[in-house]
């Protein structure tokens, strides 16, 4: 029993609810929202420290022991992801301070961003599959509102599509939970895992696992990503950065959790399906990233590529592959937030996201330009930066498990990623300067602080990989050996 486990989701929820009452006091809202994100980060860091000392921390809500009550389970993976989610939210909050107008701020952007963070952290920390559904809905409901807030034609159009897809996916999720409950008679994830382990994974359970894969795939953008480029390019840049960093990653986390803990006995079906989908996701995402000449579209397709890449490591399911996936997941949350913030700033300064109409920004915005170059290299996985180690380990795992074709595909798509982001860099920063200082649509003020914060993390995760690695290894232990997780929750 450890009450700190609840804090990363309780703090943002409480302060998010509180901010609704001080709607018109914008400055106070900003302070409180930033403080809440930092407090949530602090709680996650304390949690990481405790897990490193004493192993997985469990909180049985209301004192009802598992499997009867609803537990919150903080293993290292969940705690690390909650910490990173809090940092990313904090950076996006900093970005909003100057970037979005007062009207939007007074229409509940801050409370909604905090409640989104609460839903994300809750999804990471919960140990109950129905509770996972509830936190998904908390996250999705606030994302619907954030996406449509402002009510421009594009936003409304994309919100409708996004919402319909997600409501259908959530209904399928409830169906899958219902089947799983009738098969195993429990909702506690660890208990489900134990019962599936005892009775064996029969055809029906495997079918349910594929239904769950469909649901999480829809949320994560694994192959079923057709809604993603439209809806991620509609909202204002800070919200888009938050979505790109957090929303799809929750789906990835759910896939990692379910397919390393519960559905482990039929890898020739489930994990092969994941591998095929990962390959298709990478290929289609790469085609999209190359084909478009709009900054927002290119960045959105880059989100899709990285999802495919992370799930390549999950599908391989060896210790090396999973370590790579976890490392790359952490890297990707930070790097995607960074590049979306920078991309959003470029679009705001130039007043358009059409690459052919932007040119020569480096003359007035040198720091922005070099930060963008840095994050482009980080995304592609160039050595001193954080993307490299994750990529290396995933590829190593894949080659050890003889998935040569997939390894080739992922190397090729890495090149495409590099090409697509460098294309943005060259076209928007090099060349003849079209805009004079006065003609710029926006000053892009307030971009640099959050960007420096995230860029520092990207560099630190790359150079300081040695000191971060033990934590990742501890996060991977329960993934490779599910019994650790089961014992921690049930006994």
């Amino acid at each position: 029993m450890n009450n700190i486990v609840v804090l990363p989701l309780f703090i943002p929820l409480f302060f998010g609810a509180f901010l609704f009452f001080i709607r018109h006091r914008l400055r106070l809202q900003q302070w409180i929202a930033g403080a809440a994100a930092l407090a949530s980060l602090g709680a996650s860091l304390v949690l990481i420290g405790q897990i490193a000392e004493d192993g997985i921390q469990v909180l049985h809500m209301g004192g009802w022991e598992a499997p009867y009550g609803i537990p919150l389970v903080a293993d290292m993976l969940a705690a690390i992801l909650a910490a990173v989610a809090s940092i990313v939210t904090f950076a996006c909050l900093l970005f909003t301070f100057h970037f979005i107008g007062d009207e939007r701020k007074s229409h509940f952007v801050y409370p909604l961003m905090l409640i989104l963070l609460s839903g994300v952290n809750g999804s990471f920390l919960t140990g109950d599959i129905f509770n996972l559904f509830v936190f998904f809905e908390v996250m999705l409901l606030s994302s619907y509102v954030l996406l449509s807030l402002g009510g421009s034609r594009v936003q409304l159009r994309e919100t409708i599509k996004y919402m319909i897809i997600n409501i259908v996916a959530s209904s399928l999720f409830v169906i899958a939970i219902a089947y799983l409950y009738s098969i195993t008679g429990t909702l506690n994830i660890a208990h489900i895992a134990e019962r599936v382990l005892e009775s064996g994974q029969d055809g029906l359970t495997t079918t349910v696992s594929l239904l769950l894969l469909t649901v999480f795939g829809l949320k994560a953008g694994l192959f079923l990503f057709y809604w993603l480029p439209g809806s991620y390019s509609a909202p204002p840049a800070p919200v888009a950065a938050l979505f790109a960093a957090l929303l799809t990653k929750v789906g990835v986390y759910a896939i990692i959790r379910m397919f390393t803990l519960v559905f482990t006995q039929q890898p020739q079906i489930t994990h092969n399906v994941i591998l095929v989908l990962a390959a298709l996701t990478m290929i289609l995402g790469a085609i999209g990233a190359i084909a478009y000449w709009r900054i927002k579209q290119i960045l959105a397709y880059n989100v899709i590529i990285s999802i495919g890449f992370i799930l390549f490591g999950v599908g391989v399911a060896t210790e090396t592959g999973l370590t790579g996936s976890v490392y790359y997941l952490v890297h990707d949350m930070i790097a995607k937030a960074l590049i979306f913030i920078l991309g959003g700033a470029i679009v705001a300064i130039a007043g358009t996201d059409k690459l052919r109409e932007i040119s020569g920004l480096i003359r007035y915005r040198p720091i922005l330009g070099w930060l963008f170059f840095l994050s482009a290299l980080a995304l592609a996985g160039v050595p001193p930066l954080s993307g490299f180690i994750g990529k290396l380990l995933i590829l190593q795992g894949g080659i050890q498990a003889n998935h040569y074709v997939l390894a080739a595909v992922s190397l090729l798509t890495s090149l495409m990623v590099l090409y697509s982001v460098i294309k943005i860099f060259i076209n928007s920063f090099w060349g003849e300067t079209l805009l004079s200082e006065g003609e710029q649509k926006s000053s892009g003020r307030g971009t640099l602080l959050p960007s420096f914060l995230l860029a520092a993390l990207v560099i630190a995760l790359g150079i300081g990989a040695g000191s971060f690695m033990p934590y990742v290894e501890q996060a991977v232990e329960p993934l490779v050996n599910p019994q650790i997780y089961i014992d921690a929750v049930l006994y």
């Binding site: 619907y144 009510g151 409304l156 159009r157 919402m163 319909i164 409501i167 409830v174 927002k296 579209q297």
Partner: protein, 112 residues
Amino acid sequence: METVMTIVAGTLFTSGVYLILSKTLLRIVMGLSLFTHGVHIMLMSINGLKRGAAPLLDEEAASYTDPVPQALILTSIVISFSLTAFSLVLAYRTYKEHGTDDVEQLRGQEHE
């Protein structure tokens, strides 16, 4: 009784999917609503409908129906209720802004 409820759930799924695949926004919202209700009824009948008395924990507890699915449905109903409310508002606003409720007209990638 479970058989009848299963058929009801199936009917709701069918009509829900039919409505979601139609082109009018309001029909799609209705379809989503019916679809989620189909899920709820399926969830309820999958673990058996009510037998005996209320499922309190005593010596006869084994003869009663498992109450957990019903608790789940309650949560799910609340969520689907709020989603339906929000999607109705969103559909209305979209209709006002775009001047159409035909999803064919809401296609495209243009970002004005």
